[in-house]
């Protein structure tokens, strides 16, 4: 088992901060992309950690020792996120989220802008994906879960999940392309690459 489990089992209060540090980025990313907004994502991630803490505080050390923390925390996060997701809430990706997109220091500023614009469009598409596909797609391709882990987290068969991930990715790709075919607000200056691609 992970040495973190051992430390959590031995001294939960002292080690909990390390657990948060180790999982906050991936859980926050999942929450933000699942909910489609960052304000709720912070609340949801915080609540998931607090629930995890309270659960562990009630467990005997042996049980904490044997926890598979990654999928266990993910399961809690998705439960909290599903309770929070209200149909009346607009699924918008705020500028705030774009500002916190992990920056690659070697990247040129224009490339970073392009990447943010593309990410904004993808984020909006992911957030509008039907929930049955959204969780599997995010777990697989954002969080990097195995199908075995996903089966445990979502309570669905691996074969079902593979089909749902495949279908979800197809829907996203089709939606992105459909979006691309719409006339752009202002045609950018043609680049040599563009002429090669477009007849």
């Amino acid at each position: 088992m992970d040495p973190l489990n051992e430390r959590l089992a031995a001294n939960l209060e002292r080690t909990f901060e390390d657990l948060v540090r180790g999982h906050q980025d991936r859980l926050y990313s999942l929450a933000a992309r699942y909910l489609g907004n960052t304000a709720d994502a912070e609340d949801v991630t915080q609540e998931a950690f607090v629930r995890a803490y309270r659960a562990m505080a009630s467990y005997p050390p042996a049980r904490i020792h044997d926890l598979d923390l990654r999928p266990w925390l993910t399961t809690i996060l998705l439960n909290v996120a599903r309770n929070r997701a209200r149909p009346d809430r607009a699924r918008t990706t705020t500028m705030d989220a774009l500002a916190t997109l992990r920056a690659d220091p070697a990247e040129a500023p224009e490339a970073a802008t392009d990447r943010r614009e593309a990410a904004e469009r993808w984020a909006a598409l992911v957030a509008s994906l039907p929930a049955i596909y959204r969780a599997p797609v995010l777990l697989r391709h954002l969080d990097g879960c195995s199908y075995g882990e996903m089966a445990g987290i979502l309570g669905r068969a691996e074969g079902t999940l593979k089909a749902q991930v495949h279908r979800g990715v197809e829907l996203l790709r089709a939606a992105f392309e459909a979006d691309d075919r719409r006339p752009p607000p202002a045609m950018p200056v043609a680049s040599p690459l563009l002429e090669e691609v477009m007849p």
Binding site: D25, F49, V126, H141
Partner: protein, 275 residues
């Protein structure tokens, strides 16, 4: 939309891999407020904020038990050092107070003692807790002598220890130790900025300090009404309602007894005679 976007381009070319890469690129870094907020919400650390008070900006710490500290420390670092020395629990600055706690504090500062504001006095001795909880009962606009607290908590001879406990009040302003004054009419020390700050706060709360000091110079410790034969401490809201022509001044408890007056049930002035 930008045709030179690498992610957009691969997806346009119809690759599922491009879509997968685009999803993977949606990873975010958690905001820096997430960790502190989580530790505070889990009860593993106290949170603190800077708030405006009558004496200037103060730092206010809290946890799920209630408000744990109020300090006028010069800056953030000074406050964190003070908290580490005085309280000793982990501490994180947070963006804002929990809404309910914020509302309860605002009500309390406005003079509403109807409850709802919880304080965390863990780590204080039973005696200190008794003193501080008694101080919580003193209404805005009124003051009580140190001896009154001592008598009210059943330790009438511990007047000096009451002063020490109030001097170490970890939650000044909200636990109104500034409403406890000397029986000789001087207002006494104050941990949140000395006697000058104490005056500012008491006057802001509507206490007429000049009148209080004048009464003390005359040797007046109780005010009675010859219409009701009830006597009060001078700042008691019932004493302030007594019409000038019915006001009777007393210097000692035995004078009130001889005159046949009974003590007010609200300010319980007999407790003050212990000092």
């Amino acid at each position: 939309m930008n045709p030179t976007s690498a992610v957009g381009m691969t997806a346009r070319l119809g690759s599922a891999d491009g879509t997968e890469a685009a999803i993977a690129a949606l990873a975010l870094a958690a905001p820096s407020s997430l960790l502190p907020g989580t530790m505070v919400a889990a009860g593993l650390a106290d949170g603190y904020v800077e708030v405006d008070a009558p004496v200037g900006p103060i730092y206010l710490a809290f946890n799920p038990t209630g408000v744990s500290a109020v300090s006028r420390a010069g800056d953030q670092l000074a406050f964190e050092r003070w908290f580490a020395a005085e309280i000793g629990r982990p501490l994180h600055r947070v963006r804002s107070l929990p809404p309910r706690l914020g509302a309860a504090i605002a009500r309390r500062l406005a003079g509403d003692r109807s409850g709802g504001l919880r304080v965390d006095l863990r780590g204080r001795s039973d005696f200190e807790r008794a003193v501080l909880e008694k101080a919580l009962e003193i209404p805005r606009g009124e003051v009580r002598p140190y001896g009154w607290i001592a008598a009210e908590i059943g330790r009438p001879r511990a007047v000096r220890a009451v002063g020490t406990a109030l001097g170490h009040n970890p939650i000044p302003l909200l636990i109104p130790c500034h409403r406890v004054v000397r029986s000789d009419g001087t207002i006494g020390e104050y941990s949140l900025g000395g006697p000058a700050a104490k005056r500012v706060i008491l006057e802001a709360e509507g206490v007429d300090l000049r009148e209080l000091e004048a009464l003390a110079r005359d040797g007046t410790r109780f005010i009675g009404s010859d219409a009701t034969a009830v006597f009060c401490l001078p700042t008691c809201r019932h004493a302030r309602r007594i019409h000038a022509r019915h006001r009777v001044a007393f210097g000692t408890l035995s004078e009130t007894e001889r005159a046949g007056y009974r003590p007010c049930r609200v300010c319980r002035p007999a407790s003050a005679a212990a000092a």
